[in-house]
Amino acid sequence: MSRTFQRTWLALSLLCACAVDAPALRVPAPDANQFALEVYPILLRDCGFPACHGDARRFFRVFGPGRTRLSPELLPGDPASDEEIQQSYDRARSMLSGEKSVAASALLRKPLAKSAGGAGHEGEDPWGSNIYLSPQDPRYQILRAWALAQPAIPAANAGAAP
């Protein structure tokens, strides 16, 4: 095989690779109102601690009263601001995205005990227990029902929350 042919072949391969669109990232957009009413209080209760998902070094963060506040102007006990709920929603739905199904997403698998199909979680307590010991945990069921209720939409259209 001549060197010229090899180069041509390589260039053609690269061109073909560029021409193929990468599959669009699909970011699920479950109901925002249901999130604010049912899911947000659960994430506040179980995730939003400063040492956990209130920590600025984590991608998934939950902001709100008695936990990490989004704005330094908010006092610890001030009611949740719209922006805090929106940020928490956006980050939660991002945790639902991925190549696999929503059911296999980080938001639904990380807080679940490994023995119950969980994916492992840094936030296990000192007793070695994860946040939800089984999918039957009432709080986990609320989280899961919310996450699975809505179909995924392409990321290009997912800029604004419904």
Partner: protein, 245 residues
């Protein structure tokens, strides 16, 4: 509703350690900055202790005198005294005894203050700083961070074969935020006398959940260190043999 929310907000902003400033907050709605049923004692029921929010301060030295040492005798009354270093700084505390099923183990009651050190502000006329909460089958003793420097409580041991004693303490830095507060956590598995099961005790002052960037000795890291040590050793041997030859 608005009044109670405002009261809770004011309680939190009152300059005391946020999560321990009002015992009524623990079972309150998280939207009202409550614990949603978490008292942060560090027991298996709560999971996390106070260090999940408070951090950055000096660890308080807390002493529990009178606790059963590994084993307890059913029906026995244990009077426990808790003291802490630096009583000038406000300390808050939450503790409980739970069974393997996560229910209250035995009977837990605060003892009447015997002197000013057990009252708010260290004043003989101060309010008693302790509260008992009965929530979801649990009994939790909390101490307000109002300036008491000593706590005494009574524990009547149950017939259960084992139980967990968990206590979590915050030393406030008066900053009105969880940052800068010191924490102390005690988790102790106790067994009924005659039951052969090794008890374990642990105290910790660091956060239960480590920050994502914290360095950890993963197996890969250990292997890497081993390989590095081997390479250095070989290098040294070569240089030694080179210099001697």
């Amino acid at each position: 509703m608005k009044t109670s929310a405002l009261t809770l907000a004011l309680c939190l902003a009152s300059g005391r350690a946020a999560a321990f400033s009002d015992y009524e907050l623990f079972p309150a709605d998280p939207l009202l900055s409550g614990g949603g049923g978490r008292f942060f004692t560090g027991s298996p029921v709560d999971g996390f202790g106070c260090s999940v929010c408070h951090s950055g301060g000096l660890e308080p030295q807390v002493v529990f005198q009178g606790l059963p040492a590994g084993e307890y005798v059913p029906g026995t009354i244990y009077d426990v005294e808790v003291t802490w270093s630096d009583p000038q700084r406000p300390h808050a505390l939450a503790l409980e005894f739970v069974t393997a099923l996560g229910q209250a183990a035995g009977q837990l009651t605060p003892l009447e203050p015997s002197d000013a050190s057990e009252r708010c502000a260290g004043d003989a006329s101060g309010e008693p700083p302790t509260h008992i909460s009965h929530v979801a089958g649990r009994t939790i003793l909390t101490l307000d961070d109002c300036g008491a420097s000593r706590l005494r409580f009574r524990f009547a041991a149950p017939a259960d074969p084992s139980l967990v004693f968990a206590a979590s303490v915050v030393r406030s830095d008066l900053s009105q935020t969880p940052e800068g507060d010191g924490t102390f956590e005690l988790r102790q598995v106790l067994v009924r006398q005659g039951v052969t099961r090794p008890p374990s005790t642990s105290t910790c002052s660091s956060a239960a959940a480590r920050p994502p960037s914290a360095a950890r000795c993963t197996p890969a890291f250990v292997a890497l260190l081993g390989a590095l040590a081997l390479a250095v050793r070989r290098c040294r041997r070569r240089s030694l043999s080179g210099s001697s030859g």
